[in-house]
Amino acid sequence: MATAAGELPKVARGKKQEDVGQIPQWKLMVRRFSQSKLSVGALVVLAIMYTFMIFSDFIAPYPHDVLDSNNSFAPPTQIVWGPDGPGIYGLKQELDMERFQWIYTPDTSVIYPIRFFVQGHEYYFLGLFPSRLHLFGVDAPPDSNARVFLWGADKEGRDLFSRVLKGSQVSLTLGFFGVFLFVVIGSIVGTASGYFGGALDNLIQRLIELIRSFPDLPLYMALAAALPLNVPITVRYFLITVIIAVIGWTGLAREVRGKVLAFRSADYTAAAIAAGASHWHIITHHLLPNAMSHIVVVGMLAIPGAIGLETALSFLGLGILPPAVSWGILLRDAQTVQAVVTYPWLLIPVLLLLVTVLSFNLLGDGVRDAVDPYA
């Protein structure tokens, strides 16, 4: 293994030797990034996800919150080919009183056609323009109980597909602000602490220890309880993500400090100091670039953490809460024995969450390699 390990990096290095000094750094970064096939794949997947998120209200055939006891736990709808193209059957609902379960049988006498670019419920596109246009919908009278559930319905008879789309608006945006904030604070403080050392370092280290000892949970609880009742749930959650960032930067700061400590005693830093370079120059040109790969890895790894945290906080009644919808909420619906055993389509959001987090991880990995293109 060890001998083989020596061969491959050499090959990789040999290939770029020719022009590595001549082209701009960003081109090198793009080149390096595109070398990682997994990361490029992840970028494509995320691009698709975000496209769906932007157009989610247009793509979703139903509102995410309309209750329909006639379709409680309705399975994914079977699409059939009718005279007018694709269509669906209406569902007959019966109660199995022995097992307390709703049983659905398709009424095959009529096929209700699926139409594209139809008028449906009103929404605000990107929160700005009112619209009623939807990608698709079923042309059926209200009493036919013919609704298209691409991914089935939940306990309240709400369309899971529409809910996943709606939830992406929260889950794919909100948590990242906190991550961004904590990465910025963490790297600045960590660098300062490691570079200047001495009393400042000591002070920062003690401060970090103090902050890390804070019980964060009661802080969230206090915040949640202090907010007035009419603050919307998403704003509430946003405030919590900010708090998380404000007390969450400490781990990264310590790690960055460790890095900077090591590089500060490197020869090139000593040379720069001897040459009279300013602190700012040394930090931005010699220390930060070296610590950057670590910061990027930690930051990217924090994104799945942020998504996971949303789930965990929802679990504790502090995160996003129904009637708002997020993937964390949908995950909570799926986190039951009944879902796993009887209504497996409720696990679809888990799958999506997995793909998203995985993609962010792979993307972060690619970016990590790319920001250090001379390797």
Binding site: E156, L316, P322, V337, Q338, V341
Partner: protein
């Protein structure tokens, strides 16, 4: 271990032969067919005897010298008696032991282990205590319709119910063999309950830790005198009628849940700071020892706690001194041991049930929606799903805070027309379908339909029907009409406003920890939809649980939406839904004012706004005091000193009339949905709903004051094949 078991089995063989015969006889009369063992026992033994056609003389019994004791006991105890470690069973039992009277009971077999799970820390010791009625003076029978003896054998009162005399069974012993007498009751009264005069003898700075329970006060609120003329008699003497005394002594399992009533004096004395002033400065150690999770404390219940590992498990084993026998004279309980495993998460507990890892489960933690998974797993789990009536009067309910701090919203909430309109706008049938699978009956919201006042005669039944149907009809047009007439007109944006034109928003508040898909959240979502449909700005508002109680008591929260009314068996022992007499329900400030009547604080802070007082409260006669509540308080005060039962019922009906005319103060969905009970196949003597209907009301599991399943004597449960149910 296995050696001991063999020895046990020999004694067991002898005994089971005796009991087997009686089981067969009982089976013929009792109507409960004897079931053949489901899994083959290791060795052939007479446990199959019940299947044989009525054997006249059990063959094994003739081979063994006749038993000389009057009563029979479990083999594990018989062995201890032989070894001289335990007195004979006759000496352990009182002169006149308790015999569970239920009609469904058959004579059982000794042995086996009952496995349970529970999903919180309290449950693994607390709930098992809740399953045992052994420390209660009296017991509810027939789902609360009657009262029978407990450790109190007989009781009587004078004509105006102001003096009550109780005789306890002679010869009852604590689980460590020490005699149980009225001294153990007096110890509780004198050392832990305040206000009886004894605290004058306490060292300076030491105060009693508890205040007197409801039953210690007469209808006018003055404290009783408790006397114990001899070891087996105690008297409660009041200055005015205290007609509900017997009911109240039947409430709760007592000792650790509800008022204690009994404390093992010989054990507790060593931790008492009054008696050991050098050793203890406060009651902390005393309180720590007097806890259901303390394995050392002697008990009066059928099982005693052997091992308690917090967050892990609890092991209970039979109390050799339990003072009850079956009708053949076999000492109860039949089952040797109860092993409770702590499961932290509710979903995991469900998994444990579908995998058959528990032998019994009371309704906590499982709802009707779980029946599907439980039924599907039945062949593997061997757990049968049974339904007992909940006795709920409302299902999931909602109510507004009559004492909401904001004066404008308060005026809206206090307007009966507003509440009536909202009740008509509520599509209960949809909730009934979505949450309760179409079960139960639609209701405006009442006390439990099982309450005595609704079942006593035709007039009672009419009162119930009138309250149930008062505002139950789903009629959005009528609702809109009532709101329009009352001045809540629609503004230009289609949203209804207050009569003065200012915006009106209803925050449907509930705890943020409500499980998605649970009954309360499902209901609340529909409530919001139905109210929005008539033009109201109704917003679902999850709130953090921390501090919510305090906010409610101060009138800072508008609604409660996650409870249900399950109380009974009569309105007056637990009247809080009917009358504002405490701070958790629909009129917290009125309730606080009521509890503080006659105290100094009734005269204090009168110049302050009721919401700014400490604690917030509204006194009788103040401008914010609602006339309807005044009427209810007046009727309630009369009922408390009325010795005649029929007249008390009449007063309750009068109070209900106020609820119909000026209500609804709390609004329900459906009445009496079933609760699910899980019973392992082969666990005998656990009643079915039919058994309960024959004798009582089909089960009544919701209220805590009728401790279910303790009222059905789990000490009589037994395994048809005990050898297949060992640890």
């Amino acid at each position: 271990m296995s050696n001991a078991r063999k020895l046990n089995r020999r004694t067991f063989l002898r005994l089971s032969a005796v009991t087997a015969a009686s089981a067969a006889i009982a089976a013929c009369g009792g109507g409960q067919p004897a079931t053949a063992p489901t899994s083959a026992p290791a060795a052939p033994q007479p446990t199959t005897a019940p299947a044989a056609p009525a054997p006249t003389t059990p063959p094994a019994a003739t081979a063994i010298p006749p038993v000389t004791t009057q009563y029979k006991e479990a083999p594990m105890l018989a062995k201890l008696v032989q070894e001289g470690k335990l007195p004979p069973v006759d000496e352990r039992l009182p002169k006149n032991p308790y015999t569970p009277p239920h009609s469904w009971l058959t004579v059982g077999k000794y042995g086996g282990v009952l496995k349970k799970t529970y999903n919180n820390n309290w449950g693994i010791t607390g709930f098992i205590h809740e399953m045992q009625y052994g420390s209660s003076p009296l017991r509810w029978l027939k789902d609360g319709l009657a009262i029978g003896p407990g450790f109190v054998e007989s009781w009587e009162s004078n004509a105006d119910a102001s003096k009550w005399t109780f005789k306890i069974r002679e010869g009852i012993k604590w689980s460590d063999g020490q005699p149980f007498t009225t001294k153990d009751i007096m110890y509780w009264w004198e050392y832990t309950v305040g206000g009886n005069g004894k605290e004058k003898e306490y060292p300076a700075g030491l105060k009693p830790i508890n205040s007197p329970p409801d039953e210690a006060r007469s209808g006018t609120g003055t404290l009783m005198t408790l006397n114990a003329p001899d070891d087996y008699t105690f008297e409660m003497v009041f200055d005015a009628p205290a007609p509900l005394t017997a009911d109240r002594l039947a409430m709760w399992v007592n000792m650790f849940i509800g008022p204690a009533w009994v404390m093992p004096r010989h054990y507790m004395e060593q931790f008492n700071p009054v008696l050991n002033p050098d050793k203890y400065k406060d009651w902390e150690e005393h309180q720590r020892k007097f806890n259901h999770n303390n394995p050392d404390i002697p008990r009066l219940t059928g099982w005693k706690l052997d091992i308690f590992e917090e967050g892990v498990r609890a092991v209970w084993s039979r109390n050799p001194y339990y003072w009850a026998v079956d009708k053949e004279g076999n000492q109860l309980p039949y089952i040797d041991q109860i092993i409770v495993t702590a499961v932290k998460d509710k979903e995991i507990e469900k998994l444990a049930y579908t995998e058959g890892r528990a032998d019994h489960a009371h309704f906590h933690g499982q709802g009707l929606a779980d029946v599907q998974s439980l039924r599907d797993a039945e062949s593997k789990s061997q757990l049968e799903v049974r339904f007992w009536d909940s006795g709920s009067g409302t299902g999931s309910l909602y109510f507004f805070n009559m004492d909401f701090k904001d004066p404008k919203m308060r005026a809206v909430f206090r307007d009966p027309k507003f509440r009536q309109a909202l009740s008509h706008a509520y599509n209960r049938a949809d909730v009934q379908k979505a949450v309760y699978f179409g079960l139960g009956e639609l209701t405006t919201g009442t006390f439990s339909p099982k309450a005595i006042e609704y079942n006593i005669n035709d007039q009672g039944r009419q009162v119930y029907a009138a309250w149930r149907d008062s505002y139950v009809k789903y009629d959005p047009a009528l609702a809109e009409q009532i709101l329009d007439e009352a001045g809540y007109k629609k503004g230009p944006d289609g949203k209804r406003t207050m009569p003065d034109g200012s915006p009106l928003q209803i925050q449907i508040t509930y705890g943020a920890d409500q499980a998605p898909g649970g009954e309360h959240l499902s209901k609340n979502e529909r409530l919001a939809r139905d109210w929005q449909a008539i033009g109201l700005d109704a917003v679902l508002t999850p709130i953090p649980g921390e501090g919510a109680d305090e906010k409610w008591r101060a009138g800072e929260l508008p609604m409660k939406t996650t409870w249900e009314v399950g109380d009974g068996p009569n309105h007056l022992v637990f009247p809080s839904w009917l009358v504002a007499d405490e701070t958790e329900r629909w009129a917290p400030l009125h309730g606080r004012g009521y509890t503080l009547r006659g105290t100094a604080s009734e005269k204090e802070e009168l110049d302050k706004n009721p919401w700014d007082r400490n604690p917030p409260r509204i006194n009788r006669g103040e401008p914010d005091y609602m006339p309807a509540i005044a009427k209810l308080h007046e009727l309630f005060d009369k009922s408390k000193v009325e010795p005649d039962a029929m007249k008390r019922h009449q007063l309750v009906w009068d109070m209900i009339k106020v609820h119909i005319e000026e209500g609804p103060f709390f609004t329900g969905t459906i009445a009496n949905p079933p609760r699910i009970i899980l019973v392992k196949k082969g666990l005998m003597n656990v009643p079915t709903r039919d058994d309960l209907l024959k004798e009582g009301l089909g089960g009544f599991v919701n209220p805590w004051i009728i401790p279910s399943p303790a009222v059905y004597d789990p000490e009589t449960w037994y395994w048809d094949n005990p050898d297949a149910h060992t640890a």
